[in-house]
Amino acid sequence: MTAGKNRLESGGRIDRAQHLTFQFDGETMSGHPGDTLASALIANGVRVVGRSFKYHRPRGLMAAGGEEPNGLVRLRTGGRAEPNVRATDILLYEGLVAESQNRWPSLNFDLGSLNDRLSPLFPAGFYYKTFMWPANMWPVYEGVIRRMAGLGRAAETPDPDRYEKQYAHCDVLVVGAGPAGLAAAQWAARTGARVILADEGAEFGGALLGKAEEIDGGPALAWVAAIRGELAEAENVRCLPRTTVTGYYDHNALTMLQRVSDHLAEPEPGQPRQRLWQVRAKQVVLATGALERPLVLANNDRPGVMLAGAAQTYINRYGVRPGQKAVLFINNDSAYPVALDLARAGVKVAAVVELRAQAPLGWLSRLDEAGIEVMADRAVVAVEGKKAVSGVRIGKLNAARDSLVGGMGRRIDCDLVCLSGGWTPSLHLLSQSGAKLLWDAAAGCFLPGPIDQTAAQAVRVVGTANGGGNLQDCLDLGAEVGNSAANAAGHRRRGRGPRSPKAATTPDETPILPIWSIPQNGTSKAFVDFQSDVTAADLHLAAREGYRSIEHVKRYTTTGMGTDQGRTSNINALGIVAGALDVDIPEVGHTTFRPPFSPLTFGAVAGRRIGPLLDPVRRTPMHAWHQANGAVFEPVGQWLRPYYYPATGENMERAVNREVLAARTSLGIMDATTLGKIDIQGPDAAEFLNRVYINGWKGLAVGGCRYGLMLGEDGMVFDDGVTARLAPDHFHMTTTTGGAAHVLDWLESWSQTEWPELSVYCTSSTEQWAVASICGPNARRLMAELCPEMDLSGEAFPHMTWQSGTVAGIAAGIEARIFRIGFTGELSYEINVPAGYGPALWQAIMGLGEKYAITPFGTEAMHVLRAEVGFIMIGQETDGTVTPHDLGLGRMVSSKKDFLGKRSLTRADTMREDRPQLVGLLTDDPMIRVPEGAQFIAGSDASPPQTGLGHVTSSYYSPNLDRTFALGLLQGGHGRHGESIHIAYDGKAVRAEITVPRFLDPGEAAK
């Protein structure tokens, strides 16, 4: 075990009394509670933490927070393994196991690094131009590229942990718990408003955690602790550390990912790993801070090159020394305190290289006292070293800062290079909210544009996200905006307005000197986007090749397209592209920020909706009987329906054939409960049906049933079913199983919006009734025993009528509705009883049916039976492009009334003679069953290209016919009965006779 050789003697927000062991790439190391994996790796002297995406260059940690582009690891093992996690976000726990990514065979020796030397082959857009030709080789190239490039591996086994979702409402959501966010939350909370304060870090304090600031004469972190205590005690405040606000959607709806257990080896009992929050906030205060930019210069990706603020955070927050000898290269004031902190931590600061002509005098004297040399009007023009920084070259730039004066200058030995190219306000969420960002040329960054507080998104921005660099400004504005946001949400505090604490003063600021890339004399790679391996040269190439919009440059070069969404690279890339095109940055525009701000796990997105909880399952009251009798089930919408009932040793084919034969020769029974049922009542019910069905309903007598078709206004069939008249003002409508909800919505929408003058009420009654459908020559005999009080003669109870009765043997006095309708063409009865009596009804029928060898049949036998007699199946014979005429049901269309979709039936296109029309098909070889979906072709040669003339919609084997048969939609099919057609599939063509779509006639027995 290596000790923390870079651990400072004291300082940092770590618990030195406790030791945590962890493994990185198989090596056991030690850290402390309070460490991140990143700080612990630095403490243990690890410099190379990963290989880069494209060139496989060795990379070290560049940042200390969520903007880290290089330090992506695979965390944990087995089902809990998670790829592409930022080492800077991982809180250390005992037994942590992490692995570096994108290297083979090892981090130290990686074959893929050959790519770096072959880099002339991998310019910007290489993916699009190098490997596209010849086209048939692409699958080979793609395989190689995907192996060489890419990030981590996903887990191979299921994740054992639980993920949850939670909804919340609040008056003020404060995003970010740095100084401005804490002040905002404090003063919003003091009005009594319901406040949520979310921060992605484990601890509140934001940037203060990494600095040695003072507030009210004491350590800033004491002030943080005081507010933290006040907020924790307030009942109206919810504090959420380790919670990243990931998306900002319409009307102040935001999503937050709370990493409940990611800081532990395993979640504690009863706890989820992560929780995805959906928050609706009346007011949002964004205190999202700012991210430091690196400077783009030759070999700026060598391990040991780090953002200045990150180096400061490693020292102050984690008590680790990121190097022994440092050079700082800066163009703004923010890194001067870093130089002092480094020196105080025992790091030798060899030089501060200041791009600006004159270093700020206040800081100059402080650094002078510390014995640190400041080299003004100079630039670091190259970093030297390979697996670690060994030194830098200092040069002088010309006045335009686009070339070197006097070549590569003095070399300084160092193992740490701290870069500060300025700060980019973190405005991803603001941009997602729809607010505009405006370029501030002096500050060298985008700032919030004017926000219209009357708009749907009530959002305010404070702190460094708002461009305020000074701690006092952050505290003042945070307090004021927290208070005013609460006021806007309807909460007001009596007495004096908010008061801010006093921050220690810093010397006056000297303006930043923005620069987007440092010129060099060679061709070394100067990285802009470290994670996607995009260099300044790639961006220049894209500009030379004619790309003008930053959105196109982004996609072509992949800059900003990594998991960090270009946190450290976007502004530098914009600046370089604008320079190459010789336009101002606003003309290039900025890329669109889209949620999520940070990667979300699939687990969090899915929450509890996995496995059996993915979707509700609907079961009929008779489900248990089906199960006990060996049914194989088929999902139909959310319903589970018996598919077929195999007897011992039977396969599906034999079971279905047996069921089909039984229904035609003796007696079959099917559970028809799932058919949609809608109860329609009201004085205008018949008129209403007249308008939604293509056929007439006013003449239907009470006790009668009628088959109806519904069309969309485009004239296309979308549902069918039998509807019965229960009373003059009362109908019982049935729909397809899958279409029931849609039909009810359809009826409601017309009744409410277009025909409010019709007095009619539609109620779903699908679940109210259990339905057994019996059919076959013995159906009437069985009914005579089941309902002995009923006259079942053809005259008294004819086809397409219904009667009310009672069923012998199940609770006396319970009304059964018996419909003489079916879907098989056989003598059929559909017996409806209140749902709870379904099992009893089923048992009764099965008992009485024993002497007829009653056979339960499933949906597959039902399909065969209905197709034999040419009944259409919605969704099989129809696909949203089929009219009643196409189905041969034109005779149903009423000429006496208007109905939904009627006018569309006489459009020129719907009247074409050559539309695909429903036909029957009998293959020459009676044992060939053509696949559904197979195309009709003109000749007998199936070789491509072909013009499709339609397709097979249903295809079965019929044990009654002892041959196969099919239905299909064939162009001009109604006029082609008796002709033959070829059906193409699997490269062959099968000849079939075109027939009427009806293959079997049950005859008088069914009447």
Partner: protein, 93 residues
Amino acid sequence: MLLLACPWCGPRSEEEFSCGGEGHIVRPLASAEMDDAAWGDYVFMRTNTKGVHYERWCHANGCGRWFNIARSTTTNEILAVYQVGDNKPELPK
């Protein structure tokens, strides 16, 4: 995720609603006399407004009632909520 004020149930999240598209499209009564183009315009054509859009919504996973709203397609601001059958409301300037 819009926040829509159902006239019967109050403000609810968009996921409880279904959008019925453009409002104030009246179903023609004398459709038999219409030519194909005019009927096609009713069935298929909708405006693609930048600015105020009058549209129909149904509180599908709630009370099931339809209502109309005026919404800005650029800012998603809901400018009015009103009953089916009402005329387009006067909007504040």
